[in-house]
Symmetry: none
Subunit: 256 residues, 2 copies
């Protein structure tokens, strides 16, 4: 592992695509070195090589919301399938924002007569057009990176509903502190959904059990007895205390 690895990844991910010669100039090494060092990164799938340049796999070029969709896509699709198994036709459900929730919303198009409340415009528009669904969009002012709302009216709408499930997600899971996210407003919405729901489903892919680059610091509501955790792999042993009494379901990630 080379000392330039981090710098290469950083530059490529930041700019989406960087030519080999540009990188050579930035790191002040020869182009040949860039090629040599990036080769294992390409082979391990962290970067993509094209003639003349390196391209980020994180898809930095486009809308940041969709970019995150590509990260661990397979895991999220598997989780979404599992979530849909739990949710029967006619269920009422609150759904938060986040890429995992986005995939679940797509999968939920297979259900009918759902009552949905969400603060994500993407989730709302995905499920609203299914005939027979009743969808409420909570909030007015949409945040630009993911099209979700966190204003007062969002809370008003959520708080006057009573739903079967709250479908929440998290940016990281900590064995002591529980489910963490980055923004207080996300916690506030999650709490509102949590309170209005009989049961909570927390959906997190396996990568969330590992430390993250940007450490989130704010706690989602603690799961109650009988709440459900869906992931694509079994959580490591050290989370057993946290998940005591929780109904853990593992999605079998067989197909694409």
């Amino acid at each position: 592992m080379s000392k330039y690895k981090d710098q290469i990844l950083y530059n490529v991910d930041m700019r989406g695509t960087v030519t080999v010669l540009e990188l050579a100039k930035i790191l002040d090494v020869s182009d040949q070195t860039i090629r040599r060092v990036s080769q294992p990164l390409v082979e391990s799938g962290e970067l993509t090589k094209v003639h003349g340049a390196l391209v980020s796999n994180r898809i930095a070029s486009d809308p940041p919301f969709l970019a995150r969709m590509k990260l661990n896509r397979a895991a999220k699709v598997a989780i979404a399938r599992k979530a849909v198994e739990l949710i029967e036709d006619g269920t009422s459900i609150a759904i938060d924002t986040g890429s995992t929730s986005g995939f679940i919303a797509l999968a939920l198009r297979a259900r009918e007569h759902l009552t949905v409340v969400t603060n994500s415009a993407f989730v709302a528009s995905t499920l609203a057009i299914i005939p027979g669904n009743k969808v409420s969009m909570a909030g007015t002012q949409l945040r630009d990176h993911d099209g979700a709302a966190f204003d007062r009216s969002a809370f008003d709408v959520i708080e006057r509903m009573q739903v079967d499930y709250a479908l929440l997600s998290a940016s990281m899971v900590d064995a002591d502190k529980g489910f963490l996210v980055h923004d207080q407003c996300e916690v506030d919405i999650a709490n509102a959904m949590f309170s209005s729901a009989s049961r909570t489903i927390m959906a997190v892919d396996h990568s969330k059990f590992e430390p993250q680059d940007r450490r989130p610091a704010l706690r989602q509501p603690a799961l109650r007895h009988n709440d459900i955790l869906i992931s694509d792999r079994n959580p490591p042993e050290r989370f057993s205390t946290l998940l005591d009494g929780i109904d853990v379901r593992i999605a079998d990630g067989d197909q694409s």
Copy 2:
């Protein structure tokens, strides 16, 4: 895989259709290179090639809401392109629901720093995730066939905005009665948007100038002097009185 691949996909998906020569200018390469690079993308099905231009496959296939709207798709795409010409970066705009407005929203992803208010969850989620946009979702309870809201809060949100343009549509145009739709709630929202806007853009494809199977009976607000009508063909002669003083723009429906 070429280093231009991402940029081509990005531009084509954002704008729906881009001519080969335009792309060549944007990427600063020759037209021949665009053709060569896009060939594998076309073969793998990521893009569609027509004479002179590349067409995105996502527009028709992805949003299920518009997928159903195959009727006069080409006309609506052409109108959307024309509308985007009018609307500069940084404009504020109110957008109603409807398939034409949906296509315009897709095309508007090529703009930045828009301030948008809409009662359509599809329009909202499409434009909210563009970095720099400020999008407000008007309304809470979403109608199931198009994911649009018409409740009291929708009016509250629209009425407290003041925008440069209101972008409205209609189900039919009558030479005497003007622009007609089916539901009173649509008229109410249109009126609210009309009142909050300095200028109105009415977007209707040519089929709306002919009698419809289901005759709509409710009048949209009458256009003011200086308001704009966009269509894909020149309206028949009998509409000249109705359109007197209106700035009529015809989209050149060159490519499919």
